[in-house]
């Protein structure tokens, strides 16, 4: 069983539900069996001015008993670069920076710190999605987690990474082969996103 086939199925189903039920525009990084570079995925979201970024995956562990969905948002404190960025943000005026190499560094830093503005909202979005996955799939709550995911770090919008199930677990591997399970997963993610959008609209609009 190949991860990219499963995640493509989930993404295509989710896209249809979101467009039909919420009338939103959904852009996928791929809609067929093609390889898309990791950095290109989030670049596409940034270039499209996307308001939410969902990265859908299938989990794996050498611990075969590990199971259940996991939703992550980025942890920025874990890296040097981010510490440096935060320090720079707090202590310096970016416009004072001079030569071309510094400009390039600045661009890179601004690019990779994009997610710092959206951590709180990413956390909330992750919560909503994880809760829905737990309820609808009746799976063990592994909770919302943080880690320095490359694909999330550069997203300039609320961004989460969803691991729908463990392919390394025999029980979940079988579930992933079942189209009705894939439907449930897509619907769970949709429910989480729609709750987040409702919360966002009622709070900020």
């Amino acid at each position: 069983m190949i991860e990219k086939d499963i995640t493509l199925k989930v993404s295509n189903k989710l896209k249809k539900i979101l467009e039909r039920e919420l009338g939103v525009r959904v852009v996928t990084t791929r809609d067929s069996d093609v390889e898309v570079a990791l950095d290109s995925r989030v670049a596409k979201a940034n270039n499209q001015n996307a308001q939410l970024f969902l990265s859908i995956h299938v989990n794996s562990s050498y611990r075969k008993s590990a199971r259940g969905p996991e939703t992550y948002f980025v942890s920025l404190k874990a890296t040097d670069k981010v510490s440096m960025q935060l320090a720079m943000k707090e202590n310096s005026s970016f416009t004072e920076m001079g030569d071309d190499s510094e400009d390039d560094d600045l661009k890179m830093i601004l690019w990779s710190m994009a997610q710092t503005e959206h951590i709180k909202e990413s956390s909330r979005l992750a919560d909503y999605i994880q809760n829905e996955l737990n309820i609808l799939l009746n799976t063990k709550n592994r909770g919302v987690k943080q880690a320095p995911f490359r694909v999330l770090m550069r997203a300039s919008m609320p961004a989460v990474l969803i691991e729908i199930a463990f392919v390394s677990n025999k029980y979940e591997e079988n579930r992933l082969r079942d189209d009705s399970f894939i439907d449930k997963v897509a619907r769970s993610i949709y429910s989480g996103v729609s709750k987040y959008i409702y919360y966002y609209n009622s709070t900020f609009k």
Binding site: D39, H57, R63, Y72, F149, S168
Partner: protein, 191 residues
């Protein structure tokens, strides 16, 4: 006195002598003990025995989603790099008794410590990337197995950078960023 009585008396004398000798050696601090050296089991005196340093290694087990601590003793070495090497060797060899978070053929090719950055750099063989099964959880388990264990036991190490075949990679299998070094995150450890 017949022969049987003589044998019994001699045996008692021998037992008394050995017991006295053991008590004497114990009290004088030169009682022999068995320690394991690199060549196998050997008898050495307490005075010659290497001084041991207690360390912990947190392993992945089937019973818990958190890394579980196990205690070990490693021969003390004033050269901290050599000591670190012994620790890494132990981590890797012992991990096969638990759940090893990396592909079997993976080797730690080299490591070094950058003083002014307080950073350990671990360079793994390319099998790590080629045979890595994927998954966020798998990447977290691999990265924090090394990062947390090293930072926990070596206070001078504040962060760990991971290379593969001498090169910097973006990720192991599309998830956690590998371009930056990692600080420890002990939420994955049972303390």
């Amino acid at each position: 006195m017949n022969k049987k009585v003589i044998y019994i008396l001699i045996s008692l004398a021998v037992i008394f002598f050995i017991t006295s000798l053991i008590i004497y050696l114990s009290s004088s601090g030169t009682f022999k003990r068995v320690v394991k050296d690199k060549k196998g089991e050997t008898e050495i005196t307490e005075e010659d025995a290497p001084e041991l340093e207690k360390v912990k290694i947190f392993f992945l087990t089937n019973g818990s989603s958190l890394f579980v601590p196990k205690n070990f003793e490693i021969e003390k070495n004033e050269n901290r790099i050599e000591f670190l090497k012994s620790y890494l060797d132990l981590m890797i060899s012992e991990s096969s008794k638990y759940i090893s978070p990396f592909p079997e053929q993976t080797r730690l090719q080299s490591f070094f410590y950058i003083d002014d950055k307080q950073m350990a750099v671990l360079d793994f063989s390319e099998e790590l990337i080629i045979n890595f099964p994927g998954g966020s959880r798998g990447e977290i388990e691999f990265i924090y197995f090394f990062v947390n264990n090293l930072c926990y036991n070596f206070k001078e190490i504040k962060k760990v950078k991971i290379l593969v075949a001498g090169n910097e990679y973006k990720t192991l299998s599309g998830h956690l960023d590998l371009e930056n070094p990692y600080f420890p995150d002990y939420k994955y450890f049972r303390r």
